[in-house]
């Protein structure tokens, strides 16, 4: 009997602790209003940090980026920066880890409203306002991302990608196209011209990769640039306008029309992003609507040979009536700093970012061969022209759905379904709207 009673006691105790551990509240750091304007909020880059270890989370495609910065920072301050690669899908894995109580000091993070909303709502991020280098940013970078609800939570250290058209210059030449198109209609005409020219080797004027899904959203988003400038996403955010309304649904239908006219590759539904990169590089297609990361895949095929790339691949932004770029900052453009219960580590995290964007920046740019976002640091001359043209579209560009909408629904999956014929444009828009509303409701936004 005694054993039985003891057994019951133990079971109860274990159950109670586990329930308490599982908890009925989201674990998060205490709320604190930080004075980002205080003189010591951004510690001097050479402040001694002996014995301090910082944890930096990076993704599989970005784990080489901070190498030089970490080396320089460790040498200068005595701190230790542990760089941890979080497996793909990065965003989901990081969110899951943080929700279950595992938080780094610093992480690469997409500096967009939709990706910052969750962390800000849970009060996990440090504010990064009043940064000393803000005035040194080249045109457009300060506004390209990182700000949410009037506070800066993420710092951009490189040029964000721009959604636009990467094209094969040789295919254009052979098809007799001398000028890049302006506006969607001219873009479609150009595609038709390439098709009509029957250039040997060109299998389709456009190329889609719905097998990898993620790229399907660009063709729709670029058509919304003008509307976005006129406040489209503000209206979507309040439920005033929907994905199923004429603006967005119209863009989706225009995208579908390109398939109906046979302008895309036959295996558009199952082709992968790597196939798309190869198709443009090898001249099997004339144009793809894409972002910089796909260009990087092409550059890898070209062994990063600037001369070869410049000769073959060009870039122009496209929008409904013009050439407005749609800017979509990614996880490998920006860094966020998390709150912890240790003020020293929090300050050291800010110091790391401060060092990166000032003293350490020249080394970083030279090491990575990327365009500089600071006026005081020149860019290396190895950057391909397509990327220079892409960056040039940022100052006059507009934010993407990810940047300006409060939630990032799986538009790309619904569009991939549409490309595969299992959803109509209306159904794709409707699924996206429903998921958007669900996410907005979860955030407690009124109107949903």
């Amino acid at each position: 009997m005694k054993i039985l009673r003891r057994a019951i006691a133990v079971v109860t105790a274990v159950a109670a602790t586990s329930v308490a551990l599982a908890g009925c509240s989201n674990p998060s750091a205490p709320d604190s209003g930080a004075d980002t304007g205080a003189a010591d909020y951004w510690p001097a880059t050479d402040t001694n940090l002996d014995g301090v270890t910082l944890n930096l989370w990076v993704a599989q495609n970005s784990n080489k980026i901070p190498q030089k910065v970490v080396e320089g920072f460790e040498a200068k301050t005595g701190a230790k920066v542990q760089v941890t690669t979080i497996p793909d899908p990065y965003e989901q894995t990081v969110q899951t880890k943080i929700t279950t109580g595992d938080t780094p000091d610093l992480a690469f993070w997409q500096p967009t409203a939709s990706m910052l909303a969750g962390f800000v709502a849970q009060d996990r991020l440090q504010k990064l306002d009043d940064a000393p280098w803000l005035g040194d940013y080249v045109d457009g970078i300060a506004d390209a991302g990182g700000v949410y609800q009037d506070s800066r939570y993420a710092v951009l250290y490189s040029n964000p990608p721009v959604q636009g058209v990467f094209y094969n210059k040789e295919v254009f030449e052979k098809a007799g196209i001398t000028e890049t198109p302006k506006g969607w209609d001219e873009f479609v005409d150009t595609a038709k011209k390439i098709k009509a020219a029957n250039v040997p080797g060109v299998e389709s004027p456009l190329y889609e990769m719905a097998g990898s899904q993620w790229g399907t959203q660009w063709a729709v988003q670029v058509q919304l640039a003008e509307a976005a400038k006129a406040g489209l996403w503000d209206r979507v955010n309040t439920g005033e306008e929907k994905f199923t309304d004429p603006t967005i649904l119209g863009a989706i239908k225009n995208y579908q029309a390109l398939f109906d006219e046979g302008l895309y590759n036959k295996d558009a539904g199952s082709a992968k992003d790597t196939d798309q990169a190869a198709a443009l590089w090898e001249g099997k297609t004339g144009m793809i609507i894409q972002v910089n990361s796909l260009f990087n895949a092409i550059a890898a095929l070209a062994s990063n040979d600037k001369a070869a790339l410049d000769q073959k691949i060009g870039f122009f932004p496209i929008s409904a009536d013009d050439n407005i770029g749609t800017v979509i900052p990614e996880q490998n453009n920006a860094i966020v700093a998390f709150k912890s219960d240790d003020a020293k580590r929090e300050a050291a995290s800010r110091q790391f970012i401060h060092y990166w964007l000032t003293d350490g920046y020249a080394d970083f740019v030279a090491d990575q061969g990327v365009l500089s976002v600071l006026t005081s640091v020149p860019s290396p001359d190895t950057v391909p022209q397509a990327l220079i043209d892409s960056a040039a579209a940022i100052p006059d560009g507009v934010g993407s759905m990810q940047s300006l909408a409060v939630a990032n629904p799986d538009l790309y999956i619904n569009l991939a379904d549409m490309v595969n014929g299992t959803k109509t444009p209306e159904e794709a828009a409707d699924s996206t709207q429903q998921q958007f509303a669900q996410l907005a409701r979860a955030q407690g936004i009124s109107g949903f």
Partner: protein, 321 residues
């Protein structure tokens, strides 16, 4: 005709009789011993605690969180009644994914058992070659499911190994998108799942085949059965327990499937292979924790509703044995 038919049961019964005999001699002492033997409770604690913390409590919390608004966008969690269920069932995706999950599970059960049974029959004799082949066919079982998925994805893509081999054989370019059909890709992926686990089914069928009494076979042979009748009317019915186990594990394993499909198609093309678990994973990644919990509750209920009748039916089949 052998005459030792009751030797088996007799040898099983012998120890039982022995115990009974001892019990009549020293009843009290035996009961004490039994009490001691029945109370190794302390040894159970580690297992019970692990089961409790990592299985029972999460399962119970799964029921609780399904009725809350838990998300990645809030600091607090509050009950919200049936709102999650309403939202889920009003959206067509859940119903579609449930259908996909059931189709997938049925296909996997068929493939895994057909492959496993064929292998078991062919590799039944204990030759050295067969032993080696059994090991080879068991290798996929112990491989990482993700690795299996990625390998097959590379084999089956339009410029992959399979198409190149077919191209060599036919002398023309083959560019079938094996993973690109919204109708047939689910069959291909289910076949991959069946391929990965066929080694396990093979082992269980082999064990089943080994337990078939040689006398029954000989009796059948004396009665003049042909090989076809021998298999379908004598040996296959006697494999009923192995079939029950294999079908049940295949069904349960594939309804909770995720890794192989995620690695090969990630639910595509056009959502035609999106198992419920992939949808749950997608929703969780969006920060909608309560909704994904609700979905896993739905999955739990659906698996129970489907699996138990199937298992009950298969068990009933065994009763004739």
């Amino acid at each position: 005709m052998p005459v030792t038919t009751d030797a088996g049961p007799a040898s099983v019964a012998a120890p039982t009789r022995g115990v009974r005999a001892r019990r009549t001699v020293g009843d009290e002492r035996v009961r004490k011993n039994a009490a001691k033997r029945n109370y190794p409770l302390a040894f159970l604690w580690p297992a019970i605690i692990i089961l409790l913390v990592f299985y029972f409590i999460p399962t119970i919390m799964n029921f609780v969180y399904a009725f809350t608004d838990w998300s990645g966008f809030k600091r607090s969690i509050a009950f919200n009644g049936l709102a999650n269920f309403q939202a889920l069932f009003s959206d067509g995706t859940l119903v579609r994914d449930l259908r996909v999950t059931f189709v997938y599970a049925a296909l996997v059960a068929v493939f895994q058992n057909v492959f496993g049974l064929i292998l078991a029959v062919f590799l039944e004799r204990d030759t050295r070659m067969n032993r080696f082949a059994r090991v080879m066919f068991f290798v996929p079982v112990i491989m990482s499911a993700l690795a299996v998925g990625y390998i097959w994805q590379a084999v089956l893509k339009s410029d992959g190994a399979l198409n190149q081999i077919l191209g060599l054989l036919t002398g023309s370019t083959v560019s079938t998108a094996w993973l690109g059909s919204t109708t047939w890709t689910i069959v291909v992926v289910a076949a991959i799942h069946g391929w990965k686990w066929m080694g396990l089914s093979m082992l269980i069928y082999l064990a089943g085949l080994k337990t078939i009494d040689n006398e029954v076979i000989e009796a059948a042979r004396v009665d003049g059965t042909n090989p076809w009748q021998m298999f379908w009317q004598i040996r296959f019915p006697l494999l009923a327990p192995a079939l029950t186990f294999n079908v049940a594990t295949a069904l349960l394993g594939s309804m909770n499937g995720f890794d192989i499909v995620q690695a090969t198609t990630a639910g595509g093309p056009g959502g035609s292979t999106e198992l419920l678990n992939i949808f749950i994973y997608r929703t969780f990644g969006q920060g909608l924790y309560a909704q994904s919990t609700t979905m896993s509750l739905v999955l739990f209920l659906m698996v129970s509703i489907v699996a138990f009748p199937v298992i009950t039916y298969l068990r009933r089949r065994e009763r004739v044995l």
